[in-house]
Amino acid sequence: MTVALETALSPAAERVRERVAASPVAGRAEVVDRDLPTIEVSPKDWPTLARFLRDDPGCRYDLFLDLCGVDNLRRRGQKTRYEAVVHLHSLPSNERVRVRVLLPDAENPSLPTVCDTYPAANWFEREAYDLFGFEVPGHPNLHRLLCHDAFVGHPLRKDYAPGQRWFFAEEDLRMPEWSKETDVRAGHFETQTISIGPSHPATHGIIHLVVRLDGERIVRAETMIGYLHRCFEKMAEKHHWNQIIPYTDRLNYVSAMLNGVGYVRTVEKMLGMEIPDRGRLARTILSEFSRIMDHCVCIGANLVDIGALTNFIYLYQNRENIYDLLEACCGARLTVSYVRVGGLAVDVPEDFVARCRALLESIPVLIDDVEKLVTNNRIIRNRLSGTGVVTKEQAVAWGMTGPMLRASGVPYDVRRAHPYDFYDKFDWDIPISQDGDNFARYLVRIEEMRQSLKIIRQALDVFPAKGPINSDDWRVVLPPKDAVYHDMESLIYHFKLTMEGIRVPAGERYEWIEGANGELGYYAISDGRGGPYRLKVRPPCFPNMAAFEQIVVGGTVSDAIATLGTLNVIAGELDR
């Protein structure tokens, strides 16, 4: 029986095995079947395999999604201490593959770079260098990314104490080497290097951009992040599965609900559980409202940055109205912590549908008002059209997803490509644009808000007035308080869940949803304890921000500010 299980691969994994057998690394890479087809490979074959996976007509894995380091120190039955787990997506075939690069050297783990194949890998590899200490031979700019420059050690290694801090002073900050050189060319004025941020009104959250200016044109730029690195992944390893939900809310705090939904979906998939339709619909409705909130802030803040303050007041009123709904549901406005593994924390309020319908009336009015003020406004058009252009090929190579990718002409939306909840049952469209500039991104977001309203309207039509909202699996969901007080068995479940957390079977899982600014993925590894062994977020704005330093070159500083706004970078999610 065991033998049969090991040899019988799913059709997707079988296809991957066939392709790998035809690759230059045939015989040295092993294909196994997990939630995704998984290729295990040694580091020295990894760049070859990466190039093959991207270019081979049978593979075409063109979107580099995520690179996650893993330290197997306290995990049983693993071949090596360190490994790097890469997730790739193929836009033409809509298939995915996972590559596990097993790093044999436990003292000096070394992961050759694939930046030349996948430019999106650049920051992911720097992150792995920073947090795990993987050497990345061939990397163009191997420096710490998230931790400060006076940091000692690699915090996500299992033998690093979570609370160990290091003193950092201003003079420890590493500025890029090129920024210290003077650049005087014949016939030119001397260029100057300036820092934009980390405390700057237009850097949403805290982002540090070092630019070299020739007049007002940017000739070189480097983005420095990590100013809000709050150690989410280390904290996740120290908590139970349900205790992590408040932390996920603070990743993309502008649309907190979406993060929670993405996270609990991952855990629910690992448990193999289903939740009742009513719970799923409630999640869908609130997720779409969160998407609208997110786009409102993105557009509003962007317009403030380029000098149009009124729209912010209009768009923000939408948020206030949606806050009222969220407050009625769970008591919190911003960081809702409303989802739980297996459902929701509490049932929706009695007037939920009426409140939602009232919002469906009020939101379009405010969106129309903004459109009247902005869309045909001469100044806005001049500022946004033709600036921050990202072509289709660039967007894919840089690993962009979400409105960024769609504004560049790729109709990839997770809700359509990998339907979850009821998105395949609803009638809605994916707005795309071919221009790829800031104005296209603005238009795509405006239209997405309207599509979200359309989805909510359909979801409300089928929303059951009564019924369970949570799964009734008491090993996962807390039993009702009434039962806990009167029934021994429920009391035991309550105690076990509270004290030990949910027992998630050992294994790994990557689940992804459409976040407000792109694909939001969670890669979780469980070793059977009450909490995750390793939890990695694939933050949607991370690849967008990585590309920023290349998008802005050639434009002016004011274009860079407009572009930064349309990237919709949320520091909590970017730095985690």
Binding site: A161, G163, P198, S199, Y316
Partner: protein, 185 residues
């Protein structure tokens, strides 16, 4: 609030001018109280918004909660033009020197509101890269709890600070207090 002098010391009113319908032309108060009154009602905040609390600060500044009712709507992004530093959000060890520098750049007198538990104590990020409260770096006048605090809470914090300013209590920073004392002496 002492605008019209202490209890029992009624300001000496001049007889009304003919035609001015009984209105007083002037009142008498102490210089110190007059200055405090002006200061507390025109706090110019520098929003050091790093994270989630920054979004709630945006709520406070937007139409619904409207911070301008408290005279604080002139949000300045240059520390040179601000006298109230609102630290909204988590401050990490990487950000700490920046925060200190911004505080030092603010002119006297200056006040600090620590908005949210992350700024106040590190919150639930008891971790390797998070400053465990900004009072490791700068003095704080008002701590506003909450994760994030609701706009009402922040407004309450601002009102508490206004009381503190009106009472004549000096900023916690000794230099700031010394400066203010010199100005008024």
């Amino acid at each position: 609030m002492g605008l019209f002098g202490k209890k029992g010391e009624l300001p000496a009113l001049q007889p009304p001018r003919p035609g001015a319908a009984g209105a007083a032309d002037f009142f008498v108060t102490r210089m110190e109280e007059m200055v405090s009154w002006a200061r507390k009602n025109s706090l110019w905040p520098f929003p050091f918004a790093t994270a989630c609390c920054g979004i709630e600060f945006m709520s406070v500044a937007a139409a619904h909660y409207d911070i301008s009712r408290f005279g604080s709507e002139v949000v300045r992004f240059s520390p040179r033009q601000a006298d109230l530093l609102i630290v909204a959000g988590t401050v990490t060890d990487k950000m700490a020197p920046v925060l200190r520098k911004i505080y030092d750049q603010m002119p006297e007198p200056k006040w600090v509101i620590s908005m949210g538990v992350c700024a106040s104590s590190g919150g639930f990020y008891r971790a390797y890269h998070v400053t465990q409260g900004i009072d490791e770096i700068i003095p704080v006048d008002v701590y506003v709890p909450g994760c994030p605090p609701t706009p009402e809470q922040l407004i309450y914090g601002i009102m508490e600070l206004q009381k503190k300013i009106a009472s004549g209590e000096k900023s916690r920073d000794s230099r700031s207090a010394k400066f203010a004392a010199e100005q008024l002496s």
